[in-house]
């Protein structure tokens, strides 16, 4: 006898076979539809055969010995989202493999978490015949890990959402928005704490709604992008920008103008009456060329005795980085002091990686805005 499940699958297989033939006729032998439908038909016939083989998992009414062990007589397995979660994570891993390493890594973490949860759930379901006790057993094993990790994830969502909102709002409106939000949180918290026996479900629901709203707003702001000033700053690459020019910049505000007496100074560079010269221990007079050690930190002290504000700039070659594909990036090795007023002192510490003869550009100390003010650096 063909079982009900088999009939359904055989029927579907037959219909798919007919569809394959019709496709073949209608599309003049187009292979993509025919082959796909033929494979689908084979798969359906195969499943039909399997359903026949296992008799749809049923036993005959006359086979009374098998009634107790039939599927229908078994206790239902507890509902679980972990198989779905595992499938979702596996899909995420596959997508991450071809799209982004971040998605892949998150997918791998999720996959292990889901498999672990599934394993424990499966084990706890067979711990006893009492469903409530089994759930308790699962909680004993999983909660010590599940609750902190879940809390950390929720915290990360809150922090990320807040950061996206902060980065998107202007400084002025951010102040207002966050003040109002803080006031609301304080009010809600006060109400909950004042009123004894507040319904935990209501609090949970409110917290859930707020979390969803916060993360939704965070996602919306993240898609909208950061505020104009931050986009500009990111494009400009402030970290690569050194304030080593003649003009005053942000970094020159409130800069230190004195140096500790304990600073181990390799050379003292002095600007006096438009002349730049150096002084070194063991050398007499005003030097226009100094010698520094290679691969060791050297501190150079700059003393401005000129009437105007000046800074000292030390240039010691460049690094050429091969980015691949015939593209290279040049980074000038440069260090400078802040703008300092008359009588001020500031030091820079540098580590020169290569000897001076190995560099195409000479190593030098200059003062922007002072014509001819230059000291040569020799590195053996």
């Amino acid at each position: 006898m063909i079982t009900t499940g088999s009939k359904f699958l055989y029927g579907l297989g037959s219909a798919t076979s007919i569809a394959a033939i019709l496709w073949f006729i209608a599309n003049d032998g187009g292979s993509i539809g025919v082959v796909s439908l033929a494979f689908l038909a084979v798969a359906l016939f195969f499943m039909g055969a399997i359903a026949s083989f296992v008799r749809d998992g049923h036993v005959l009414s006359t086979d009374t010995d098998a009634h107790a062990s039939s599927n229908a007589a078994q206790r239902n397995v507890g509902r679980s989202w972990f198989p779905v979660g595992t499938a979702f994570s596996a899909g995420m891993v596959a997508i991450g493999l071809v799209s982004s390493p971040g998605i892949f890594k998150v997918g791998i973490c999720l996959l292990f978490a889901m498999l672990g949860q599934w394993l424990i759930k499966n084990w706890s379901d067979r711990a006893s015949s009492d469903v409530a006790y089994n759930e308790k057993v699962r909680a004993w094993v999983v909660h010590p890990l599940e609750i902190p990790v879940g809390g950390a994830i929720i915290l990360a969502i809150i922090v990320l959402s807040f950061s996206r909102i902060m980065l998107s709002l202007s400084k002025e409106s951010g102040l207002i928005v966050f003040s109002v939000m803080a006031a609301l949180v304080l009010t809600f918290g006060s109400m909950v704490s004042v009123r004894r026996g507040a319904n935990r479900r209501v609090i949970g629901a409110v917290a859930g709604v707020v979390l969803v709203a916060l993360s939704g707003t965070g996602i919306a702001f993240a898609l909208d992008g950061e505020r104009h000033e931050l986009v500009e700053a990111a494009a400009e690459d402030h970290f690569a920008h050194r304030a080593c020019g003649e003009e005053a910049e942000e970094t020159d505000e409130d800069a230190a103008r004195s140096v500790s007496a304990k600073s181990s100074v390799a050379a003292t560079v002095i600007l006096r009456d438009g002349r730049l010269f150096a002084e070194m221990d063991g050398w007499n007079g005003e030097l226009t060329s100094i010698t520094l050690q290679r691969s060791n930190p050297s501190t150079i002290l700059f003393v401005n005795e000129d009437d105007h504000e000046h800074r000292m700039v030390v240039e010691y070659g460049k690094i050429v980085e091969d980015l691949g594909g015939g593209v290279s990036k040049d980074t000038v090795l440069e260090a400078c002091t802040s703008l300092i007023t008359k009588g001020g002192t500031q030091a820079v510490s540098i580590v020169i990686p290569k000897p001076s003869f190995a560099s195409e550009e000479p190593y030098s100390i200059t003062v922007p805005g002072v014509e001819g003010a230059s000291i040569e650096i020799q590195v053996p």
């Binding site: 292979s31 494979f39 689908l40 798969a43 015949s129 006790y133």
Partner: protein, 199 residues
């Protein structure tokens, strides 16, 4: 500490067997879709003049040579695997651990041989995955097939560990493992014919 009676032993419900069948169904439709795309790609390719065969479809780069001995050995090897897998089922049903162990070992060994032949084929053909549509599709299909083969070897190893580890009454996983190897042989026959024979 609570002391409750253990849960009743669940009777065999053929979950592994039916689950394997479902996985086979999914893999069949996946491979079917891939082969259909492959055939459509071939049918849509432009024509070119071949010194030996006249006008042919220009879908496969001229310099690529398929090592047919290796690919034929893969098919023959998979047929042998089916016999070994069925031998494992036969021995397991008779609780013959020695022969079952031998059959499991040979199943996995021949499975590894097929994977090795696939890797040999890849190295001999020298196809780079990003060189063109043929190359990408070739690796997509043969890579999927190899992944399915590796799953088969792991499945056999699991079945062997369970049976040889003492679960001699649980024959379902052994039968499911054999069913999976039958599927692999049938699937590889289709891949072999379309990808390696119909050049």
């Amino acid at each position: 500490m609570l002391a409750l009676p253990p849960a009743p032993t669940a009777p065999a419900r053929r979950q592994v067997f039916v689950g394997t069948a479902l996985a086979i169904t999914a893999a069949t439709t996946l491979l079917g879709g891939m082969l259909a795309t492959w055939l459509q790609f071939r049918a849509d390719a432009p024509l070119r003049e071949s010194p030996r065969r006249g006008l042919i479809r220009d879908w496969m780069p001229e310099k690529i040579v398929v090592p047919e001995v290796a690919t034929n050995m893969m098919l023959i090897g998979l047929c042998v695997v089916c016999i070994m897998a069925q031998w494992a089922v036969y021995s397991a049903k008779r609780a013959d651990r020695t022969h079952a162990g031998l059959a499991f070992g040979l199943t996995a060994l021949f499975g590894l041989m097929v994977v090795n032949a696939q890797v040999f084929t890849w190295t001999q053909m020298g196809v780079a995955a990003n060189d063109g549509a043929f190359h990408t599709m070739f690796y997509a299909i043969t890579g999927t097939m190899t992944l399915l083969l590796v799953v088969g070897i792991v499945f056999t190893a699991v079945a062997a560990f369970r049976f040889l580890g003492g679960r001699t009454k649980e024959l379902e996983v052994v039968s499911a493992s054999a069913l999976y190897w039958y599927f692999l042989t049938a699937a590889f026959t289709a891949v072999w014919f379309v990808v390696y024979v119909q050049k």
